[in-house]
Each structure stands twice: as C-alpha cells, then as structure tokens.
C-alpha cells in the first residue's frame, strides 16, 4: 500500500501542477532555469522559415498538428502545445522530404560548397560546417559543441554505412528539423547584471522576426544578437526599422491578421450547397485573400488609419467574389480594385464574405455568432458561455404569436435577466448585419418578410451595416484591442495586470500618430516591456478570455 500512498501524493502534486502549470508556463521559468518559454512553431512560421533558409522552391508537403486559440490568439495557444505521436510522424516525414530536396543534385550547391573526393565517404568537415551554418538559422541560435558532435557522429556513421556522403548530410539536416529546438521556439533568459533576468539576444531576435516577418531571424539579425546590439534601444530601433521596411513585412502582417481575425476557421467552414449553390472552396480561398489584401493595402501600403477598416469601401475582388457581391467583373488580371457603391450597406472589413460566412451556420446567418465574434475579434471582449442549464423554451416557443422572427426571439432574451447581460452586448451588433446571409450575400428580405436592421447599443442607436461600421470606427475599445493583440501575439502570452500601464501608454501613442499599424508594431518591438521576463510567480490575468471557442457554439441562434 506504500505505492498507493506515493501515488496519491504524486497525484496531489500533479493536480497542483496541472492547474497552476498553465499560468506558470505563461508567465515565467523556474528560478534556476534559463528557459522561459517554449512555443510550438505555427504552420506558417515553419513554412516561411524553410522557404527563407533553403529557398521558396523547396516543397513542404505535410499535415501540421492543429493549433489552439487561447486568450483570443493562436499565438498564445502555441505556448501550451506540444507534439503528439501522430504529429511527430508527420513532422518526421516533412523533415525527410525537405532534406531530400535540399541535397538533391539541383539544390545542394546552395547549402554546401564541398565536393567530396569520394562520394561514398562522408566528409566529416563538410557535415560540421553545414551543421554550424544551418543549425544557427534553424535553431535561431548557435549550436553547442555537444549538439554538433552528436549529429556529426551520427551522420558519419550512417552515411558511411550507406556508402554515401549526401545520405550523411541529409540525415544531419533531418536531425535538425525534427529537433525540439527547431520545432519549438525556446526562449531563454540571461542575467541582466542588475540581479534580474532579461530575454537573451537570440530570443529577442526571434521575437522581432516572428512578430514582424513570421519567420526566423535572418543573418543580419543573428549577427546583431551575437554582438549584443539587441539589448540597446538604438540597436533594436535599427533592426525594427529594417524589418518593417522589408518586403517580408507583408507576410508578417498577414500572419498577424490571420490569427487575430480567426481566419484559420476557413479550414473547416462548410456551407450547405443546397442552400448556397455558390459556396465552394475557391470562393472561401478568395474571401480570405480579399480580406488580407484589403488590410495590407490600407494599413501597410497606404499606411492608413486602423479604424478605417470598418468604414472603407475600397477592396479587391476576383471573379468568384464578384458573383457573391453581384458586382461586374471586367479585368484582365485575377484581382482588381473594387469600391463598394455608396448606396450599398457596408461596414468595411466586417461586411466582407470572410467575416459574414465564418460566423454563421452552414445554412443560415447567426446574429448571435456574429455579435459574439465582433466583440471578441475586434473589441477583445469575449462572451462567457451561457449557463449550462439555460431554459431556451421561452425564446424558442414558435407558438407564441409575438415571437415570429429570429429578431423577435433574440430580443426576448433581453427580458430574461440571465440572458440579457450577454445578449444585449452581442445581438444588436449581429442583428444590424442581417441584410447579409450566411455566405455574405446581400438581401433585404427573409422568407418574404422585410428584415429590420435597426439596433441600439449602450444607448447609441444605429442602423444596418453602415451604422455598425461607424460605431466600431468610433469605439475606443477597437484600437485598444489591436494594441493588446499585437503585444500578446508577439510575446506569446496574454497580458497580465503588470502590463496594464504599458498597454495604456502604447494605446495613447497609437492614437497620437493617427492609428498607424506599422508605427505601433515598431513601438512595441523596441520597447523593453516586449522583452520582459515575467516573474515566475503567477500573476492574475488582466482579463481571462477563455470563452467557449466560437465555432463550437452552434447553439447560438
């Protein structure tokens, strides 16, 4: 029975670790360790890294482990994920096909200048040079001698057994690509010389490049890290300015908005084609591209005011989207600029097919889903799940002659105390979008009845999508939410109470210079706070945002 007692003790410890673990993980390391966080590379980070290090023609073909959204962002969830057995199979297979391509006859000269005298013998020096050079790029820090040595030994032994120098090289690369040091972004801290800890230079380089480029640091950034330049404001400013001005910044901004706008749901969205014959994978791909193109154009190319994404009528369409928008499409190129006519309702980014179709049911629109998503995505205000034993019978009583439409039934929530607190925040927003169906197509009527899109939120009356766009444009929570998301995305953790002052300052600065995204990114990237190593003790989260994942809540009317 000793064992049983031991197990009980272990379990008690386990529960403590299990419940606190997440918070501790998000906020710091054990006092003795240098490691402060591990974050699994996202699919796009992996792909961008391989393309940058080995060339865009190296095909990455495989299935990535699903990501998980925590505290509104996948970037935060990445800090809680590991790699399952099934997932490791896939990462191994990808590593092998990448290695095969990198060392095929066409590509090998890119990564190695060695010409082994005897191709049946592994040239040890070549392997070592390759590992030092490319290990640095893939691990985003120099490899230790032990890390090099174990791989050189393995490559020489196995390559010799296979009588092939390049087999040895391939195995060395495969070994890098399946390593936890590549698959996870491992952040480490060093002493700051004042008795505290600070994120070390290479971890800073990774934060910068993954925030601004969605890829691994380039040679110049790694050099700056090695030279200690990323500990100084001047050094950070120089690198951040270089990164923001680079063409790679577009991929970084796309990755950020893909996460914030929850565009990953496109992977699983389905519509009932008997109700929506225009639905297709091509239309969904086009919708996603339209949203990202629009954001890049307004926020990066034109350096516009962030708030205008809710009111701007400028966008891009292709042939598929033209059909959904009932717009003429006359263009020699795949994509063309398009202005939503003034007499049509529009709330900018919100009335694109993307938002309207992602936050709907397969067969019908959902004012609640849309309202909940608007609050969550653009205002960082998640809605708690309804009580488990909620009685839907009042609002669902279709025999009640006073509750004919979705609108009537939804508004009946307002009379029920339990429901009102949340539904009063979500439903008016969603109802104002009811002129758009589950696929984002415009409509004035539903089942022959005229749709009423008047709404009121916090005492302010507005009507339809255009009114909603203005409401969002003028809502101070929208820019505040963006600032919070940029920080959480880059730092890989939800802000805690200690970050409140910093975020308020950043938000004020954002307003000061006219809500320019790139200036915001730069300010965050050069600030000390961005590289702060949180204390190991758990801190109360600023706002816990673990609302029910939106796509799980099909019960919302």
């Amino acid at each position: 029975m000793k064992l049983r007692l031991l197990t009980a003790l272990l379990c008690a410890g386990a529960v403590a670790a299990g419940t606190l673990g997440v918070v501790v993980a998000a906020s710091g390391a054990s006092p003795t360790s240098g490691m402060v966080a591990t974050r699994r590379l996202t699919e796009t980070q992996y792909r961008h890294t391989i393309a940058d290090v080995f060339g865009g023609d190296i095909v990455v073909n495989g299935r990535f482990e699903p990501e998980r959204r925590e505290e509104l962002l996948l970037a935060v969830g990445a800090g809680e994920l590991s790699i399952s057995g099934a997932g490791f199979d896939q990462y191994y297979a990808m590593a092998k096909t990448i290695s095969d391509q990198v060392f095929d006859e066409k590509h090998r000269a890119r990564v190695t200048s060695c010409k082994p005298a005897d191709p049946a013998k592994v040239d040890e020096k070549c392997v070592e040079t390759f590992l030092r050079t490319y290990g640095l790029k893939l691990f985003r820090r120099p490899l230790t001698d032990a890390e090099i040595k174990s791989r050189v030994t393995m490559a020489v032994k196995s390559g010799t057994a296979s009588k092939s120098h390049y087999t040895g090289m391939r195995l060395a690369l495969t070994s890098l690509l399946i390593s936890p040091e590549y698959l996870f972004r491992i952040e480490t801290a060093a002493n700051d010389g004042k008795g505290g800890k600070r994120l070390d230079g290479y971890s800073r380089a990774s934060r910068l490049s993954y925030l601004l480029w969605d890829t691994a640091p380039d040679d110049e950034l790694l050099r700056a890290a090695a030279a200690g330049e990323l500990y100084t404001r001047v050094g950070l400013e120089k690198q951040a300015a270089r990164l923001v001005a680079s063409p790679k910044a577009e991929a970084g901004t796309r990755a950020f908005f893909t996460d914030m706008l929850q565009l990953d749901y496109f992977e699983t969205v389905t519509k009932d084609v008997t109700v929506f014959p225009k639905f297709s994978a091509a239309l969904m791909d086009s919708a996603k591209e339209q949203t990202l193109k629009t954001l890049i154009d307004q926020l990066v190319t034109k350096k516009g005011d962030y708030r205008d994404i809710f009111t701007s009528r400028e966008t891009f369409i292709n042939r598929q989207l033209a059909s959904a928008y009932q717009a003429p499409f006359v263009s020699a190129t795949d994509w063309t600029r398009y202005s939503i006519p003034q007499d049509q309702e529009s709330a900018g980014i919100v009335t694109q097919v993307t938002f309207l179709s992602l936050f709907s049911h397969p067969g019908r629109s959902s004012p609640t889903k849309r309202g909940v998503a608007l609050n969550e995505v653009f205002l960082c205000t998640p809605t708690p799940a309804p009580p488990a034993n909620v009685d839907f019978s009042i609002v669902n009583n279709t025999n009640d002659p006073s509750l004919k439409t979705v609108r009537d039934r939804l508004l009946a929530h307002a009379n029920d105390e339990t429901c009102a607190a949340c539904h009063n925040q979500s439903d008016p927003l969603g109802l104002s979008l009811e002129h758009f169906d589950s696929l984002g197509q415009h409509r004035e009527t539903e089942n022959g009845a005229k749709i009423d899109v008047a709404a009121e939120l916090d005492g302010r009356r507005f009507s339809g999508a255009t009114g909603l766009g203005r409401l969002l444009h003028d809502n101070p929570r929208a820019p505040k939410c963006l600032v919070r998301n940029v920080y959480a995305y880059g730092a890989g953790r939800a802000p805690d109470a200690n970050d409140a002052k910093y975020l308020a300052e950043q938000t004020a600065a954002f307003a000061q210079d006219g809500y320019r995204l790139q200036s915001l990114l730069t300010r965050v990237a050069v600030s000390d706070e961005f590289y702060r190593v949180p204390p190991p003790k758990p801190v109360a989260p600023l706002k816990v945002a673990s609302a029910q994942p939106l796509r799980q809540t099909g019960g919302q009317p």
């Binding site: 299990g18 057995g85 997932g87 296979s162 699983t268 084609v273 049911h361 067969g363 034993n389 099909g554």
Partner: protein, 451 residues
Amino acid sequence: MTMRFNRRSMMRGMLGGAGVAVGIPMLDCFLDNHGKAFADGAKLPTRFGTYFWGLGLTPIATGGSRWVPTKVGADYEITPELESLRKLRDKVSVFSGFRVHLDGKPNLQHWTGQAAVLSGLAPDKIGTFNAPTFDTAMVDQIGGGTRFKSLELTPFGNPKLSYSTRNGQSFNTPEATPIALYTRIFGEGFRDPNDPNWAPDPSIMLRQSVLSSVTEQRKALMADAGAADRVKLDQYFTSVRQMENQLAVESQRPGRAESCVVPTAPGELKRSGQIDVVNANNKLMANLMAMALACNQTKIFNVVHTSATSEAYLPGDTAIYHLHTHDEPVDPRLGYQQISSKLAELAFRGYGDFLTALDGIKEGDGTLLDNCLVMGFSDTGYAKIHSTDNIPMFLGGGAGGRHKGGQHVVGNGDPVSRVALTAQQLAGMKVGEFGVGGMKTAKTITEVVKV
C-alpha cells in the same frame, strides 16, 4: 501484484495531473482465460477503440426515452434510436443512468462530458483536460507490437476533432478523410505481414540513428526547463520514443495475419457536414480501420464521429443538429424533439456501422469484432439542457471472449468512470481503479464480465 511504475509514467502523473489508475487487478483471475487463438496457436490480440458522437441521444420529457431500453439485463429491446444495433444486439451492452460527478467544477457545455468519460474527472476549462485519456494508458500497457501505437480518425473532415491526449493539452491529430486514413495505414511504410518475401526496410536503421541524435540532447534540455515547459518537452520525447518503438517493431518479421487483405485506396467524398455524407465517410473509414486491425497495424483507435457541438445537418436543412437541440420545441404530443431525435438516430448509426464493419471480417473462429471492444459514448444525456446525467454509453464487441454482450445495465447515478474502468479491464488492462474525486471508482460492472 505486478505493477510497472517507471520514471516516465511517474513524470506523466506528476506533471500532467494524471489520475493514474492503480490497484490490484482483481479481475485478472478470470480475465486472462478467454483469449481466442489462431489455428496455429498464436493468440489473437484484443483491440480497443473509443467511439464518440456529439449531442447524446434523446430522452422523453414526460418520462421514458427514445434510446434507453425498458428491459434491464439480457435481451433488451431495440428502441428507435438504437435501430442500428438490431443485428448486433447480442454483442453490444447498453449503459444508461451513468453520470458525470462535477466535484464543484462548472459544467462546461459540450466539453465536460467527453473529458470526464475519457480522463476520469471534470476539466477546469474548455480546450484542455485535467488528466490523460485512458486510451493512452492502454497504448502503453497493451498496445505494443504494432506499427502504430494508436490511430485517430474522424469522418467529419475536421482535423481538430480528437479527444485523445497524453497530457491534457496536446490532442492526437486525427485522420480526417478516408484517403488520408488509407495513406497513413497502407501508404508508404506499410509492409504486408503476409508477404513471403518480407525483409526489413534498410532505411529503418537510418531513422533510428537520427532519432537517437535528438534524444541525446534530452537531458540537457529538460534540466533547463521550468515545470510547464517540461510537460511539453516530455510529451515531445514520448512521441519520439513512440516512433523508436514503432521502428523496432517494423524491423522484426511480423506474425502472419490470416484475415489481412490489403485494401485498395478509397475515393474521396466531398467534405460536408451533411449527415449522410458523414456516415458514408464513416463506413469507408470503418472498413479501413477494420483492415488496419486485421493486419496488426494497431491495437488501439479513437473515433470522433461528430463534434460535441455537432454541425451535422439533414440535406437541405438550414439549421445544424446542435442548433436543433436547443431551438426545436419539444413536440407536446410526442414528448420529444422530433428532428433532434432523427439526427440522434443518424449520428448513432455511425457507431452501429463501425461495429458492423468489424463484424464483417472473419478472424479465428469468429469475427474481428469478437476480438475487439469499442466503447461508444457521447457528451450529454440531454443536449437541450447540456445535461451530463444519463450519458449514453455502450460497449461493443467480444473483447476476446471477456465481454458478456447483449446486456442493459442501469447506473442509477453512478459515475461514467465505472463504464470506462470496466472497458479497460475487459480490454485486458491491469487496472483496479479509475477516476479522480467523486469520479474515482474501483467498481467493475460485473454484469458484463464473462466468468
């Protein structure tokens, strides 16, 4: 008492918040005597699977049920929603009246149910479980000797639908289409166990050496990690270890698998939430999984038919199943939600079809299903109000002669962990307890154990 308690399982217990099941395997005396055998005397393995579908089955508001048989014990009658079990009844046991004990935790809608059944306690938050799911413990104890430790799949097409986890955080990625499942099992790396010219693949040794170059760094890395990072890294190294074991198996000549017939690649059905498409994909995947078992590619599998907030829908219907369960009024004449009940019957058909596929393959002197145990279960007892009482649960298959099928057992509010514990024991696990807190149980449901 023989119990393995190695560093790894201890780590998992400590760090993953595991409700490690321990105790004297009291059923051992009779559980091990029923294994069936091939003609050549080699013992046929018992395989185990979990099969989840979302939104439960339907109670009748005025009393009674669309699924719970009135007859308790043997020869239960086939109720409307259990129609798909008609031909299999004597191989399937029905468990009604079992519930989740929340132990003061919130009832997280469409999440608490499956978490509690699989991990033995109600979770703290949506998206994670507080303990590993018991299928992963089975992998470690009885899953050896096959190419895959376990296989996960979903006919719904959504690659996030999996509830199998070793640390409560990372879930095993499922194959989400028939072709993906086929490729995983019978694509590159598959070796026909009955191939007379079988020889080990020379690339196996190369892979083994690559893996060892990574595991050499394990110690240094783990020493540097804080507690939470260690959990993640431990999971990573467990996955590496799993591949090492897999390679060790692949380098040995496998025993003959007399029922193994390598299937041809299935066609691709369009991904859709339409319930008939989901069920068609389910059948294709059931046939592939059956062959994976018959060909000794794995012993453990986990299926998620539809998510707990099922987005399945009837052809041409603008509302999804989940929406119906909340929106559809209870028909005052019938006492239940008509459309929801129809969808419940269709969703549960996935389980019946899966068992039918396993039963269609001859193995030894019976069928493959006779050597399997598949636990069917859902997240709610009444989806309309997210009730976690009376969660429908089923055990299908003979478990190598250990399961006394065809029984209806009434739980009277006992924890669902009793069914999970019994499932593990029938499948051959040496385990005496399962669950944490109010869910902890050592009580086997002896009504379904063959003595």
